[in-house]
């Protein structure tokens, strides 16, 4: 059981003038037993962060503590953690049993105990019947399980996952995701999970770390990340379809025109002249404008998805997406009126891109 603390962690590549900072001043604490995802687009520094926690890369600044003890000077194998790699990194020249047991053998765990733990891990993941096989004779899903079993058999304080599901096909990915959640509930070990898939992060995690360009954007529960995005980056990165984020100007006290159009929303508690307003497509509504009624805009694209349809509306100065239930009877060119009565309005400072909490009810 372990708490992981990052204190001002930095990573530079190169030296001197040519140094490039890949990770900026990260500080947060991962609580004991929590499942925490590092979420962000590729190149945001999430994998680097994971590698630094693992000790596969040295840190250039700050410190990393596990259970209060500084570990950033320790070799990876002295940090008592297990790592599940994106490509699984199974040793092709060993059979599944040896793959799972290799870490234990290197740690001089005695033979009987190793075998017991290997079989136990294999049983948990339902791969007992392939223990004698080489990795190349396994399916993608089985390899994935072997990689997980290898981590479990070690019984480490901390599990680290580097996009472990990204090499699986869609169906298997969803299935494995649920199993991973179950596994964490069973084992209860602190887990850090790198992914660029917001769905994975939302479904699996107790906490999510959203990163962008080597910086921390937000650290919070999935609920907070979704309902109280701290920055425009988080707001647009999390949620599908993407949140409508449009610069908006005050037309009267407590009322803002979205994207310079005639579509206005009410926002209480804000003093700013200019803000960036965020509205989730699924929280907005849409109806055909009556004859003579002022329309918010015209339908530009309709994308039916089955249970819902995404309708893109041209507001004249900007595009706005609304998700409506079922197959929409709207067609391209229809004049429509937007509604945001049920929607949470997310307000961001247009320059700092940070959330204006004054507007939160």
């Amino acid at each position: 059981m372990a708490t992981i603390e990052l204190v001002g962690v930095q990573k530079d590549y190169g030296r001197g003038r040519k140094a490039v900072r890949a990770v900026h001043d990260l500080s947060y604490t991962i609580a004991d037993g929590h499942f925490v995802s590092l979420l962000g687009p590729s190149g945001c520094g999430k994998s680097t962060t994971l590698n630094m926690i693992a000790g596969l890369e040295d840190i250039t600044g700050g410190e990393i503590l596990i259970d209060g003890a500084r570990v950033d000077d320790l070799e990876p194998d002295k940090r008592d953690l297990a790592f599940v790699f994106q490509d699984y990194a199974l040793y092709p020249h060993m059979d599944v049993r040896d793959n799972i047991g290799f870490g234990l053998r290197m740690r001089k765990v005695d033979k009987a105990e190793t075998e017991r733990r290997v079989v136990d891990a294999a049983r948990r993941l339902d791969i007992e019947h392939v223990l004698g096989n080489r990795p190349r004779n396994l399916s993608g899903g089985q390899r994935q399980r072997v990689a997980l079993a290898r981590a479990i058999a070690r019984r480490p304080k901390v599990f680290l996952f580097d996009e472990p599901l990204s090499n699986l096909d869609a169906l298997l990915r969803d299935q494995t995701r649920s199993e991973l959640k179950l596994l964490h509930a069973e084992l209860g070990a602190t887990s850090v999970y790198v992914t660029h898939d917001q769905e994975e992060a939302m479904t699996l995690s107790d906490r999510i770390v959203v990163m962008s360009r080597g910086k921390l954007e937000q650290y919070g529960t999935p609920y907070e990340i979704y309902h109280r995005p701290a920055t425009t980056f988080v707001a647009s990165f999390v949620g599908k379809p993407r949140m409508n984020l449009l610069p908006s100007a005050r037309v009267e006290r407590g009322r803002y025109a979205v994207g310079g159009s005639t579509f206005t929303v009410d926002v209480a508690g804000l003093d700013a002249e200019q803000v960036r307003l965020g509205l989730r497509p699924e929280e907005c509504s849409l109806r055909r404008a009556a004859d003579g009624e002022d329309a918010s805009g015209e339908v530009k694209v309709v994308e039916p998805l089955g249970n819902v349809s995404d309708v893109t509306v041209d507001l004249g100065s900007a595009l706005f997406v609304v998700r409506v239930p079922g197959f929409s009877e709207l067609t391209v060119g229809d004049r429509v009126v937007l509604g945001a009565e049920r929607a949470t309005v997310h307000c961001f400072d247009p320059t700092s891109e940070e959330r204006l909490t004054g507007a939160d009810r």
């Binding site: 693992a54 596969l56 070799e75 194998d77 990194a89 040793y91 092709p92 020249h93 740690r107």
Partner: protein, 278 residues
């Protein structure tokens, strides 16, 4: 219809060309093999007499019981194997480091390994001769082994670097997390995984050492002389015992030919793919 016909014509031409190529590749050696088996007079006509009852193994029997032939043969085997082992032991560590560690001068070092190929052996013959004589290693197997190792190592290292670089780095990271130290990562993970490539390098090292003529000619005289030198001696300036020369040729070529054919998959991969990528 016409498309089908041109396609057929093209196929026929292609197969004929391939057949000709195969004859070209095999005929010279096959001819030498015949020479070693049949009386020379049976072959030196327009219509060679290939009646199997004419086959004679006398020349093989003669050579394989002749100490002056057997000693060089044994020498070649010893020198070839020792050189191969030495090249693999020294080369794999060096190649692994070049492949896995980033340091200044790395690419220069790699390029240097290739450039050494440009050095004509003859340039080094005289100095090597003097050097070996100074250390009492002229005309010894050890002297030959060390010299061959130095000449073959750069190529072997260059080849093996390619194989080590091909290994996915995540495997070695997994090994680090599993608790391997640097040496264990190399010996327990990298070397077994690169084994096919290393085998190709080993075969290449053996073939090169076994086949060398010039260095052996210059650096040995009697006791450490090798098979190619002995075989070349059948070819006098004026007279030549064709049957014996052909037999010696077959015996000299046989081990490396067999090795090349057995290990063909690795050799082709090892020799060629690294080169094409580099």
């Amino acid at each position: 219809m016409s498309r089908a016909r041109t396609r057929l014509a093209r196929t026929v031409v292609h197969r004929v060309l391939v057949a000709l190529l195969l004859v070209y590749l095999l005929a010279p050696f096959a001819w030498m093999l015949l020479y070693s088996l049949y009386p020379a007079t049976a072959l030196q006509t327009l219509t060679p007499d290939l009646d199997p009852s004419q086959i004679r193994l006398d020349s093989y029997a003669a050579l394989l019981s002749d100490p002056s032939f057997l000693t060089p043969m044994a020498n070649s085997a010893v020198v070839g194997l020792a050189t191969t082992v030495l090249c693999m032991v020294l080369g794999s560590g060096c190649a692994y480091v070049i492949a896995r560690y980033r340091f200044r001068g790395r690419s220069v070092l790699l390029l240097g390994m290739l450039t050494v190929q440009a050095v004509p052996v003859i340039v080094l013959a005289v100095p090597l001769f003097i050097l070996l004589r100074a250390f009492g290693q002229y005309d010894t197997l050890l002297g030959l082994v060390i010299t061959y190792t130095a000449f073959i190592l750069p190529l072997v290292v260059w080849m093996m670097v390619g194989f080590f670089e091909e290994l996915p780095p995540s495997l070695e990271r997994a090994a680090v997390v599993d608790g391997c130290n640097r040496l264990q990562i190399m010996t327990r993970i990298a070397v077994p995984l690169a084994a096919p490539g290393l085998a190709a390098a080993a075969v290449l090292a053996f073939i090169t050492a076994w086949s060398d003529f010039f260095l052996a000619k210059v650096l040995t005289i009697t006791s450490a002389t090798t098979l190619p030198v002995r075989t070349a001696a059948f070819q006098g300036l004026f007279a030549m015992d064709y049957t014996s020369a052909a037999t010696a040729g077959v015996i000299t070529a046989a081990p490396v030919l067999l090795l090349a054919l057995v290990a063909q998959k690795w050799i082709i991969r090892g020799l060629v793919e690294g080169a094409v990528k580099g």
